[in-house]
Amino acid sequence: MYVKPHKIPSVFIIGKHLATRGEAVYGEKTFGEYRVWDPKRSKLAALLKKYENLPLDTQQIVLYLGAASGTTASHLADIVSLIYAVEFAPRVARNLVRMAEQRSNVIPLIADASRPDYGHIVELVDLLYQDIAQKNQADIAIVNAEMFLRSHGYACIFIKARSIDVTAKPKAVYQSQVKKLKEIFDVMHVFDLSPYYKDHAAVITRLI
């Protein structure tokens, strides 16, 4: 087994697989202490396959909106220093809490990201990571960035075209969302996540 370091610290390449190092959580394949990071299960891994210069590093504090059961959050926790992981649905958050108990750098929050009531908990963050399938996802990103993201901090926002408008063309949806994000962000890149995810895009931005 030959392990190569990825451009991003704490990310590794094993054969064709991406991997991070840490305790396994959701039944992922492992090579020793390396956990395989499947781009079909994690949009962040899919994005890394498309673009390897993501603004991720080991010192970062991350606000993660829409952490769901914590699959991606667990890999991200292997990379960065701290994650505030927000998830709204209590049923899904069960797995997230279980994951947080295993890792010392995950702070689980069950809250509604569109009406953030965690202002007394979350400190200033370096990266806003958002994977929320909501109609108003651009607004959610803006509200949270204005509250929690440090100036010139990065935001990585996933857009699911289908949850904004099923009837419109995905490209048109991405454009309308990017236009909204431009109110407060410098939009650096937009990536389509096919073939791993259909009708999903990732927007990499920086707070002005």
Partner: protein
């Protein structure tokens, strides 16, 4: 001189600041119950980012903790405990329970169907009284009084009983949680609507047009995307008023019924009052509708 006073409520302390300098702090103790109380009340919504960037420093300077790693481990323990409490609370909601019961009924129906089919293959009713034999040989005895078959049959029957117990329980719980919905839609359909909406509150906030087509999402999206005909009814097709009326007025009946269910859901969620008039009103409107459309 004008001072710029700021109040900062964090999960570990309340601060007063003047001109970006902390002038007063009211620090919590580090024991879990005290912190859980502070976690629950939201604060610091429009806090200046220059303070938000210094939570850890503020915690150190106000002597809440003596190291950053203590800050994080206390915060982490508290948020995990808080999240667990929220999960438990969410699972104890009566509408969540009703959703579970409805799903359980669907699972049992599926299982009973599957097991009954197996039983028919394994021990067809023709085996019950074999009097004639084509080959003159005696019928294979082993299969007639097979104790396994009896046990299998019994299990299916027990599942049937369980199903009716669950249904009775849904009726009881729906009458307590949503008496108006139960009146208009019936307990079981009402429970199904609550389950599909994701709870009583989402159902109460739903427009009646959405209630009308809930459960027909495939047809609805086919309509939105490819401009096919819109669906007339989703789950509420199960209602005797929809099913019992001729096809030509079913769409109109479904619309009226959905409107009444929407009102009933709002009553049940927001006021808890029982309005026995809802159903008679609906029936009157439908009979008007039926006579009107017959004339035209």
């Amino acid at each position: 001189m004008k001072h710029d006073m700021t109040y900062i409520h964090t999960w570990f302390a309340d601060f007063e600041a003047e001109d970006h300098t902390i002038t007063h702090s009211d620090v919590a103790t580090t024991d879990l119950p005290a912190i859980l109380v502070k976690l629950q009340r939201a604060g610091a919504m429009d806090l200046d980012k220059c303070y938000r960037g210094h939570f850890r420093k503020m915690a150190l300077q106000s002597l809440f903790v003596s190291s950053e790693s203590d800050y994080l481990s206390i915060l982490r323990a508290a948020t995990i405990a808080h999240a667990k409490a929220q999960i438990i609370e969410a699972f104890c909601q009566p509408d969540v329970h009703i959703t579970q019961l409805i799903d359980a009924i669907d699972d049992i129906d599926e299982a009973v169907n599957l097991l009954s089919e197996r039983l028919l293959e394994w021990h067809p009713p023709e085996l019950e009284n074999i009097t004639l034999s084509i080959t003159n040989a005696p019928p294979p005895e082993s299969r007639m009084g097979d104790p396994l078959v009896q046990e299998f049959t019994l299990s299916v029957e027990r599942l049937h009983e369980l199903r009716s117990d669950i249904a009775a329980s849904i009726v009881r719980e729906m009458q307590a949680l949503a008496p108006n919905i139960s009146n208009v839609a019936g307990e079981l359909l009402g429970a199904r609507l609550i389950a599909a909406a994701g709870g009583l509150e989402p159902l109460a906030r739903m427009p009646s047009s959405r209630i009308q087509v809930m459960g027909a999402s495939k047809a609805l999206f086919r309509h939105l995307k490819y401009k096919s005909k819109p669906p007339k009814h989703g789950l509420i097709f199960q209602h005797p008023l929809v099913r019992g009326n001729p096809v030509r007025i079913r769409g109109k009946v479904a619309r009226l019924l959905a409107a009444k269910i929407a009102i009933a859901a709002r009553l049940d969620f927001y006021s808890k009052e029982i309005y026995p008039d809802l159903m008679p009103q609906l029936e009157r409107r439908i009979s008007e509708l039926a006579s009107f459309t017959r004339r035209s």
